[in-house]
Amino acid sequence: MNIRKTTLRAIIGAGLMALSVNAFASEGAELKHKHFSFEGLFGTYDKAAGQRGFQVFKEVCSGCHSMTLVPIRALGEEGGPFYDEKHPNPIDNPVIKAIAKDFTITDGPNSDGDMFERPGKPSDYFPAPFANEQAARASNGGALPPDFSLLVRAREHGPQYIYSLLTSFEDEAPEGVELRDGMNYNPVFAGGQIGMPPPLFEGSVEYSDGTPATVEQMASDVVTFMAWAADPKMEVRKRTGWMVMIYLFIFALLMYGSYKAVWRDVEH
């Protein structure tokens, strides 16, 4: 019946509409169409990019940006950039132990009632660069550097947005745009004026694997790292998803066959 098809189309249309609701919101300049390893139905995090991205995070971003919801051990858990099959428990992973040791953690109180500092352990969370929001704002001209834990998922088209933002800083504001004091011009950012100065310059970090540290390369790497930080279980989720879909597909075929068999002598 015609109306059935039309209704079905209407329902599918409603579903698509719900999906595209978010697409209307962003205001800034058009985003760059960058494809990342982790996108798509089969996408996984590029491990080498994730490791380089961690280096960028540690040496550049973490001076201002916190990542409080991610423990250091997560780097070495399955799906993480430093996961090693030989050490499924990241606490045994020497790379993770070495990374953790580089951080200084305030712990305590000890038996004298004093706080003390010690080298980090894999079970620690990444320490925040500022004690509180007020301290962060005071050091950043009033702007609050957002936490990295979920930042990729907290923006429309997060990976493309952050990549475009990092690679679209302009030295001079275009004519007619009056930059407020301490602001920087970036057409991707809503309103064009952003508190963050351009964070990446050619050679900001020196990659141990010899990859040339261009701004685009570092931006792409750090976005891969941030995407992992925001969704560390993505790989296991997609992998499980395929098993579930195959299972359900076979199950559906069996049910359809059963349906046809049970109804074979019934006119309906």
């Binding site: 019946m1 109306i3 039309t6 209704t7 209407a10 329902i11 249309g13 409603a14 579903g15 509409m17 719900a18 999906l19 609701v21 978010n22 209307f24 919101a25 139905l41 919801l69 991610v70 997560a74 957002p146 834990s149 979920l150 930042l151 998922r153 907290a154 923006r155 429309e156 997060g158 809503a190 925001a230 560390p232 279980k233 296991v236 989720r237 997609k238 499980t240 998803g241 395929w242 579930v244 879909m245 359900l248 597909f249 199950f251 559906a252 049910m255 359809y256 059963s258 349906y259 049970v262 109804w263 019934v266 006119e267 309906h268």
Partner: protein, 426 residues
């Protein structure tokens, strides 16, 4: 559950139990039940909803074991569930996406009921119980969305609870009573968690009443013609419809799984990945997609109280629908005009959803530029929402009552069996 019973206790124990607590009979009669033989796939959404409700309750109870209803810890506890709890990465998106899937299924279920006249005598109570379930689902979904304590959680809760302040004289008092304070805060989050845990079990209770009320008159069917001969017109629910429902349920689960595993964020809003902050209002406050049509109605009316009345009135109309439709013909299959108006009604609901997702000031299409301000001019979502709201109300208050009196229905088959065998369309 009531009325028809073909159960015959066989063993001595069953006979003994049946005369004391006929619980085996209850289960038996729920599934061995005469069901019209011509039900199409639109009838599978009841079973789908039952499965989704159980999925929501099971995932929800487990999530509640790990969730912390406190303004300082709620947001982190959701991340703890996703990152550290065993299979938390599966349970949390299943529950969040599951809510959307339940609403998708319930909307199809309701549109089916309207199209085939399933609310008409003798099924008015069945329909009203269903509407009560829908209303409780809206409340449950709303409170559930507040629990992750992201920006949209907080501001959605602020906007919706503020609606009650539109009530004359006592509005502000009611709003503070709902909040447990002078703003949405820790007491609000705690009570929402408590109620979000409670309401699904009330829904489950109403579902049992819904099935009971279904089993008294029996299923409606695509022809809308009552069962005349149980032998010829019906089949036993089991195995005929258990197997058909099972197939539909598995197909629906594939859609569900596609969202859970491959695009868990698609139906949510990115702002809910930002911790709730009472000092920062998001650029736009958008509710979950399943509330958007009502949100559009709320914003279509320039007066706050008027908007609230329009929004809740739209749901109230559904409760009295059985008495608004004057047509004696149940199925719109035989009502060419009603069919057309129904199609427009479905499109109006979807269009209202579209309006709800956009700022009322944004343009549906631009016709020019305002000479003074440089702003684009044209047809705004505000006016689209107003027109569609008007149609929504007209559909229930004018079209259905009048159409029943003036429309000439097409000839209907003599019986369900005749329609199945293809002799009855004349």
């Amino acid at each position: 559950m009531s009325g028809y019973s073909s159960y015959e206790p066989k063993s001595g124990f069953e006979k003994w139990l049946d005369s004391r607590l006929p619980i085996v009979r209850l289960g038996y009669d729920t599934f061995i039940f005469p069901t019209p033989r011509n039900l199409n796939y639109w009838w599978t959404f009841g079973g789908i909803l039952a499965v989704m409700l159980m999925s929501q309750i099971i995932t929800g109870v487990i999530l509640a074991m790990h969730y912390v209803p406190h303004v300082d810890m709620a947001y982190d506890s959701i991340q703890h569930i996703n990152r550290d709890v065993n299979f938390g990465w599966l349970l949390q998106p299943m529950h969040a996406v599951g809510a959307s899937m339940m609403f998708l299924a319930v909307y199809i279920h309701m549109f089916r009921g309207i199209y085939y006249g399933s609310y008409k005598a003798p099924r008015e109570v069945l329909w009203i119980v269903g509407m009560a379930i829908y209303l409780l689902m809206m409340a449950t979904g709303f409170m559930g969305y507040v629990l992750p304590w992201g920006q949209m959680s907080f501001w959605g809760a602020t906007v919706i609870t503020n609606l009650f302040s539109a009530i004359p004289f006592v509005g502000d008092a009611i709003t503070s009573w709902l909040w447990g304070g002078f703003a949405v805060g820790d007491p609000t989050l705690n009570r929402f968690f408590s109620l979000h845990f409670l309401l699904p079990f009330l829904i489950l209770g109403l579902v049992i009443l819904h099935v009971w009320a279904l089993h008294v008159p029996g299923n409606n069917n695509p022809t809308g013609i009552s069962v005349k001969d149980v032998e010829k017109d019906t089949l036993s629910f089991h195995p005929y419809y258990t197997v058909k429902d099972a197939f539909a349920i598995v197909v629906f689960l594939m859609v569900f799984a596609a969202f859970v595993f491959f695009m868990p964020d698609a139906l949510g809003h990115p702002d809910n990945f930002i911790r709730a902050n009472p000092l920062v209002t998001p650029a736009e406050i958008v509710p979950e997609w399943y509330y958007l049509p009502f949100y559009a109605m709320l914003r279509a009316i320039p007066d706050k109280l008027g908007g609230v009345i329009t929004m809740f009135g739209a749901i109230a109309l559904l409760f009295v629908l059985p008495w608004l439709d004057t047509s004696k013909v149940r199925s719109m299959r035989y009502r060419p005009l009603a069919k057309l108006f129904f199609l427009i009604f479905v499109l109006a609901c979807i269009g209202l959803g579209w309006c709800g997702a956009n700022s009322p000031m944004a343009m549906v299409f631009v016709t020019g530029t305002d000479a003074a301000t440089g702003e684009p001019t044209g047809f705004s979502f505000l006016w689209l929402a107003r027109i569609l709201t008007l149609y929504y109300y007209a559909f229930f208050l004018l079209i259905l009552p009048i159409l029943g009196l003036v429309e000439k229905p097409k000839p209907r088959p003599q019986s369900i069996e005749q329609s199945v065998l293809g002799k009855g369309e004349a």
